[in-house]
Symmetry: C2
Subunit: 361 residues, 2 copies
C-alpha cells in the first residue's frame, strides 16, 4: 500500500492506494471512529461492495445505507435532499460520518452533503472508478449540477481520508476505465512530461488493468494534482489551479449539449484536450509531432478522438456559460509543450473558430 | 459610526454600526467592488429599502434583485434554488457579489447561497432587524431549514462586511424589536453582568427605539458574540460556543412545535431562557433573586414569559432531535449566575421534567 499525504494545514488528509483496501480494518479503525456511519453509494456499486464495507467497519457501528440511482443526471438538488432526509430520519447528529462509496457523482454529492449537513460533518471517500481515484480524491471540490450548468452548486470541503482500492477497478467497465485514463493523461500534458512518456510505454498495461501499473498511475496522478491543489486550495488565483481544467471548457460544453452521461466526462475531456492541442498547434505554440503524440496516446487509451457534431455558435454559447468564464472573455487552458499548459484569453479568436469547425475525423 | 472588527484570520471582516449607513457610498465603494451585484431581500423589505441601496451602489453596477417571500417558512431548499436560478439566468459568475438585505431568514439563506454558489462567492450582510443585527451578523452561520428540523443544512461562511444601520429599525414592528431584545439580553446572561445591569437601566429606552441606546446595545452584543466566535469559529469544541445557545434548545422545540413564524425566534428563545433559569434555580445553581431579575427584564422587553402548552413527552422528543444533541444526552446551557453559563448534561433529569411541566403563568 502507498500513502500519499495531501498537505492543507488542519485540513490535511492521507490517500491510501493499494490492493484490497476495502477489507483493511486498520485503515477504517483509524479514520472511521464515529458510532453512526452513513454509506452513500449507488445501485450499481451497492450490490458489489456495500456488504464488504459494512463488514469491515464492524458490528458495533450503526450503518445507514443511502443508495442513490446511478448517473450524472441524478447529481442534483433532489438527490441531495434524499441524503438529508435519510440522515435526519435516522436521527444522525453532527458526529455522523459519511462515506462516499462510488464514482465521481457519488463523491461529489456525498461530499457536498457532508459540507452542508449541520454545517459540516466528517466524510471519507472510497472512489470506485479510475476517474474518481485520480481526480475527485484530491482537491476538495464537492457539489451538484443545476439545469443551467454543471457543478454550479457546491463547496470546497476536504475528506478525512481517501481509500483508493485498485481491486475495485476489476468490476469497472472498460469504457469507464478509458474515461479515467483521460484525466491521467491530462496530468502528463499539463505538468509532467516524464509521466506522459511513462504513459506512452505503459498504456497497454493500463487498459489491461495491470495492477502494479494502475497503482503507479493513480499515485503519480494524485501527486501531480496534490502539488497544484496545495498551492491554491480554494482556486482563488485563476492561474494556478486552472490548468487542471485542460480540455474541460470544451468538454463541459460537449457534456452539456449531448446530455450528461451520454458522453462520459472523461470522453468529453479527451476530446477537449485534443481540441486544446489542435488550437495550441494552430497558434504556433505546440509542435505538430507533439500534437500527434497527444492524439495517439488518447486513442491508445481507448478514448474517442472526434468531437460530436455541434455548431460553432452553440459551442461558443455553451463555453461562455461555463463557470470558468470571468466577465465576457473565454479563458482557455492551452499547451505550450507536452508537460506545459497555461490559462489564457490572449489568442486570435479566428483560431478558436477554426478549432470549433475543424473536421477531426 | 462605530466599527467593530471580527478577527478570524483571512476571514476577518468589519461590522459598521450607525445611522443612515444604507446611504453611505464610501462603505459600499470599499466593499462592493463587483460589477454584478445580486441583492437578496424579501417582499416586506424590498419596497422600503431596495431602491435606496441600489442608488447607493451606483449606476455602473448590474443589479440583480432577488425578492423572496417573507417568513421562516420559506427558509428552505426551494427558496434557495430560486436564488441559484436567478443568478444563473442572469449569467452571474464567480465574481458576483451577493448582498443580504433583510432579517435573519434572508441573511441565513443568502449566506448559504453565497457559500454554495460556484463553491463560494462574496457576500455582504445588511441586517434589517435588531435580531439579525445582534445575532446573525457575527458567527458565520448560514443555512436553511429542513422539514425534520431547523438549520439542518448550511455552512460556516463569513461575510466581507456587515452594515448594521440603526435607522432601518424605524420600520421594524414593535414585536420584532422585542424579539431582538431577547438575544441582546442573552449576552448579558451568559457572559456580561455589567451589560445586564446596563440593560435593566436602558430597557425602556430600547423599546422606545432610542438611537443612541440601540447603537450601544448592538455594539455590546456584537462584541460579546465576537469574543465567543473568535475563540471557536467552527463550533468544534462544544463547550466554547455553546453558551450562545442559552434558551435555544427549549426555544427550537417551541418554534418547531408551534410552527416557524407563529412564535418569533426571539420569543421562543425568551421562554427558553426563562426555562433554563428556572431549571438552574431548581438545581440550586442560581439564586431566586437573580431568577426573578431575569424574568423581569425579559418582561420589560415586551417578551412573553409563559411557555405554550406542550406536553413533557413532546417537548423531550423535540429537544432530542435538536442538533445540539450529541449521542443520546440532552446537553443544555444552564446558568450559574447572571453573566455565567455553561453547557452540561450533568443534571438531575427530574429537574428537567419539573421544568417542562412547571406552570409559569
Amino acid at each position: 500500500m502507498k500513502t500519499l499525504n495531501i498537505n492543507l494545514g488542519d485540513r490535511s488528509y492521507p490517500i491510501y492506494i493499494g490492493h484490497n483496501l476495502l477489507n483493511d480494518k486498520e485503515i477504517f479503525q483509524r479514520h472511521a471512529k464515529a458510532k453512526t456511519i452513513a454509506i452513500v453509494t449507488n445501485d450499481i456499486v451497492a450490490p458489489l461492495y456495500l456488504n464488504i464495507l459494512t463488514q469491515t467497519l464492524g458490528k458495533d457501528k450503526k450503518i445507514i445505507p443511502i443508495i442513490l440511482p446511478d448517473g450524472e443526471s441524478y447529481k442534483n438538488l433532489d438527490t441531495l435532499n434524499l441524503i438529508y432526509d435519510e440522515l435526519l430520519k435516522n436521527k444522525a447528529g453532527r458526529d455522523v460520518l459519511l462515506i462516499a462509496l462510488g464514482g465521481g457523482v457519488v463523491g461529489d454529492i456525498c461530499g457536498f452533503a457532508a459540507a452542508s449537513f449541520m454545517r459540516g460533518v466528517d466524510f471519507i471517500q472510497i472512489p470506485t472508478t479510475l476517474l474518481s481515484q485520480v481526480d475527485s480524491s484530491v482537491g476538495g471540490k464537492t457539489g451538484i449540477n443545476h439545469s443551467l450548468g454543471k457543478n454550479m452548486i457546491g463547496a470546497f470541503y476536504q475528506p478525512k481520508c481517501v481509500v483508493a482500492d485498485i481491486n475495485l477497478l476489476n468490476t469497472l467497465p472498460q469504457r469507464e476505465l478509458s474515461a479515467g485514463l483521460a484525466e491521467v493523461i491530462k496530468y502528463g500534458l499539463i505538468r509532467d512530461l516524464e509521466f506522459f512518456n511513462w504513459l506512452e510505454t505503459y498504456m497497454k498495461k493500463l487498459t489491461n488493468k495491470d495492477s502494479a501499473s494502475l497503482i503507479e498511475a493513480v499515485e503519480r496522478s494524485c501527486t501531480n494534482k496534490a502539488e497544484v491543489v496545495e498551492a491554491d486550495e480554494l482556486e482563488s488565483d485563476k492561474n494556478i489551479r486552472a490548468t487542471l481544467n485542460l480540455g474541460h471548457t470544451f468538454g463541459h460544453a460537449i457534456e452539456n449539449e449531448m446530455g450528461y452521461g451520454n458522453w462520459l466526462h472523461g470522453e468529453a475531456v479527451a476530446i477537449g484536450m485534443i481540441m486544446a492541442a489542435f488550437m495550441s498547434k494552430e497558434l504556433g505554440w505546440l509542435r505538430t509531432p507533439e500534437y500527434l503524440r497527444i492524439i495517439q496516446l488518447i486513442e491508445l487509451a481507448g478514448l474517442p478522438i472526434t468531437p460530436p457534431d455541434i455548431s460553432e455558435k452553440k459551442f461558443l454559447d455553451l463555453m461562455m456559460s461555463d463557470k470558468k468564464t470571468k466577465g465576457n472573455q473565454i479563458n482557455l487552458v492551452l499547451q505550450t509543450a507536452i508537460g506545459e499548459a497555461m490559462l489564457t484569453n490572449e489568442y486570435d479568436p479566428e483560431i478558436l473558430s477554426k478549432t470549433l469547425t475543424h473536421n477531426f475525423s
